[in-house]
């Protein structure tokens, strides 16, 4: 791979060894005046990931060696910054942004290049005239986190162990592998001396991160607001209250959802206490199991899983924007809070 490609795909194994051969010490990366713009670009990567969810990649085809080096070296610096802040939301968001940007670029690369990148992730793909073939085991490892039903193996052209996939789909699947690699390697083991050197950058990122978090109301969902529940959950609740028997998968989805939005085991037991053959002890036991003995409840199933089991019911326009019932709730709450804030501001003014 040439140095320009390494700069654009700095997470590949070859890029690590290449940077090593360049002989830049950590000390120089952190302090050298000549690398000011690499550090600036490194901070920019992180900021872009928070604010836009996407990292703008430079066009390097016409540029000189220096620009290429700076782009390449900005990546390890980004990772140092993210590691110093060591925030799980930031790590996920940063890894996703890096992966999405790389995937977008991969769509424009040629077949051989895709094969090479895939190989770096231990995924072997065979190019044909207008498509690729990927072994189904590699395919399901990459695709099983994807939400859309079209990615389910059952909806793919599978023949003698190999899945038929398009160029664009390969790029999308590799995004998953790239994200995993970046996310799993973070945070790096960084010393407090290293982090102190980057303080001004870190403070700037932290501020942007804090704003982003309070915007989307990430940590505390506050009081339970049943009006903001997604249609699948509201529907199940009205079923339960009329004494209908829910299937196992829907009961699990409902219970884990309610636990995650902050309802207590007692409240949920009461909710189920309508049917004539209600068995409180058994119900409580099951709910407590889903709540988890360690206090961390199971996460409810995603929209795709709900669809698969026929539990997605009455999807509305808002559902188009989310892939998970909990996000429906979070976003609705956020929207509601925003509206109320505007209202009170208008009243104040």
């Amino acid at each position: 791979m040439d140095s320009k490609s390494l700069a654009l795909y700095p997470f590949v194994t070859e890029a690590f060894s290449y940077v090593e051969t360049l002989g830049f010490s950590l000390e120089r990366l952190l302090n050298s005046r000549a690398l000011d713009s690499a550090r600036f670009r490194g901070k920019e990567r992180v900021l872009q990931s928070i604010e836009d969810g996407e990292i703008q990649k430079p066009g390097l085809s016409g540029s000189g060696e220096e620009k290429t080096f700076l782009e390449l070296l900005s990546y390890p610096f980004s990772r140092i910054l993210v590691s110093c802040i060591n925030d799980s939301y930031l790590i996920r968001r940063y890894a996703l942004a890096e992966a999405e940007s790389a995937s977008k670029l991969l769509k424009t690369e040629n077949k051989d290049f895709l094969v090479e990148i895939a190989n770096d992730f231990n995924v072997s793909i065979t190019p044909f005239d207008s498509h690729f073939a990927m072994h189904f085991t590699d395919y399901i490892k990459l695709a099983n986190t994807m939400k859309d039903l079209k990615w389910k193996l059952v909806n793919r052209r599978l023949k003698r162990g190999y899945v038929h996939i398009t160029h664009e789909e390969v790029a999308r699947l590799l995004q998953e592998a790239i994200r995993d690699r970046i996310q799993n390697a973070l945070p790096l083991d960084v010393s407090s001396e290293v982090c102190n050197t980057c303080n001004s950058h870190i403070d700037e990122i932290k501020e942007v991160l804090q704003n982003r978090k309070s915007d989307i109301n990430i940590d505390d969902m506050g009081e339970v607001d049943t009006e903001s529940f997604p249609p699948c959950i509201s529907n199940a609740i009205s079923g339960v209250s009329t004494g209908a028997n829910l299937g196992h998968s829907m009961r699990f989805a409902l219970t884990s959802f309610l636990l995650n939005v902050g309802m207590t085991v007692d409240e949920i037991v009461d909710m189920f206490n309508v049917s004539p053959d209600f068995d409180e002890e058994k119900t409580r036991y099951q709910i407590e199991h889903i709540a988890g003995s360690s206090g961390a409840p199971y996460t409810p199933p995603s929209c795709q899983t709900m669809k698969t089991y026929g539990n997605c019911y009455g999807g509305d326009e808002f559902c188009q924007k989310i892939k998970h019932p909990l996000n429906y709730y979070r976003k609705k709450l956020y929207k509601k809070a925003k509206k109320e804030k505007e209202k009170s501001q208008q009243q104040d003014g």
Partner: protein, 391 residues
């Protein structure tokens, strides 16, 4: 089950294990083993978290402690005999499929019919594993469970590291769950340049597509071909709702014309009338219902499950857990081929009247003391329907 019966069964199982060859799975020293012993019965105690370092050690265990039921883990562990699951350190697992007569849509009353049903399911599963998933005959280990079904073991290196969610994707494929059939067959709306969904076309799969598309293509074409090549094809075709005489005649012509038929196999469907397209769509849905194999999802998804040891005896039937090759499956008769005991007469006191069909014989067994061939007596005692001896 009383003590005398237990002692008798233990003795006969022990005789079997003196000579029997236990089928050792790949890397058997990395597996957890578990047993239910006659000595602990009638209580059901699973002695698990065991590991064996050599085949001789295992063979000795079988012949000296005499398990009524024997299992090993589908998982390979670093420390298979650690007493809690976390400390075992899971490394990888075989891919397992479980077919159970009790989990099929229609459960017949008689045991032989149940077994025949589940065998049909096993044949369908085998087709999926070889045609779609590309496993060779040697990669697929087919095992009659000794009870009401079959286990398929796949130890191929490519599948061993798959997680539970990934294994569920395989089950979903085989059971057609989540299949979006509207993308394969039927009227599909295509967005025009303006983004309006106004243009519609009929999509039809090609047999070269692979996946469910190819299966559906082959099913529909062979289904209609069978009708066309039978007596009174027009009558049979017009029995479908919406199909008139003209449509039926046109279909017969298409299916008798090799050139048009081969276009149809490739997914080209322009020459077919709209009424026939509706028929195809109907048959497409029927294809899915007929082609799916009902495998038990939780078993495949569980990467730490214990599964019956091939070559051991099933303590609930006395039948041998029997390994089969793909070519043996079709003609396999569990109630003959998995019977290991002889036909010398044994006196038993029958407590539950039953009908037993084994080794080609059918016995209507009434309550009370009587002599039965040993294999039938053992079967009945294992099922809890008889006690050993005359009192």
């Amino acid at each position: 089950m009383n003590d005398k019966t237990l002692r008798f069964l233990k003795k006969r199982f022990q005789d079997y294990y003196q000579d029997a060859h236990i089928h050792l799975p790949p890397e058997y020293t990395s597996r957890e083993w578990g047993f239910i012993l006659f000595d602990d019965m009638p209580k059901t105690v699973m002695r698990r978290h065991m590991a064996f370092g050599s085949s001789g050690e295992l063979q000795d265990y079988f012949s000296w402690t005499v398990p009524a039921h024997a299992y090993y883990s589908v998982a390979y562990y670093e420390y298979p005999n650690a007493s809690n699951m976390k400390d075992k350190n899971w490394l990888q697992s075989d891919l397992i499929f479980d077919l159970d007569a009790d989990h099929l849509p229609h459960v017949p009353d008689s045991y032989p019919e149940m077994l025949e049903n589940v065998k049909q399911e096993a044949l369908k599963l085998y087709d999926f594993l070889s045609d779609d998933f590309g496993f060779g005959e040697d990669d697929i280990n087919i095992v009659f469970s000794g009870g009401r079904g079959y286990h398929f073991h796949i130890s191929h290196p490519s599948v061993r590291s798959l997680g539970s969610a990934e294994r569920r994707e395989i089950v979903d494929y085989i059971s057609g769950r989540g299949l979006d059939i509207s993308q394969i067959i039927g009227k599909s709306y295509v967005s025009g340049d303006s983004g309006r969904r106004d243009a519609s076309m009929f999509v039809f799969p090609s047999e070269n597509d692979g996946g469910w598309g190819a299966k559906i293509n082959r099913y529909i074409i062979s289904y209609i071909s069978n009708i066309v090549n039978s007596n009174k094809p027009i009558k049979k075709l017009t029995d479908f709702s919406g199909v008139g005489k003209t449509t039926a005649e046109k279909l017969v012509n298409i299916f008798n014309d090799e050139k048009q038929l081969s276009l149809l196999k490739k997914g080209k469907i322009d020459m077919v009338s709209n009424t026939s397209k509706n028929l195809f769509e109907h048959l497409g849905k029927q294809a899915v219902d007929n082609l799916i194999a009902n495998v038990d999802e939780p078993v495949t998804a569980d990467v730490k499950r214990l599964i019956r040891v091939p070559g051991s005896l099933h303590g609930g039937s006395g039948l041998r857990v029997t390994t089969l090759s793909a070519s043996e499956l079709e003609d396999f008769k569990p109630l003959e081929n998995a019977v290991v005991f002889k036909d010398n007469p044994i006196t038993v006191n029958v407590t539950q009247p039953s009908i037993i069909e084994m080794k080609g014989n059918k016995y209507h067994v009434d309550e009370g003391v009587q002599d039965l061939p040993e294999y039938a007596a053992i079967y009945l005692m294992c099922r809890g329907g008889a006690e050993y001896g005359s009192n």
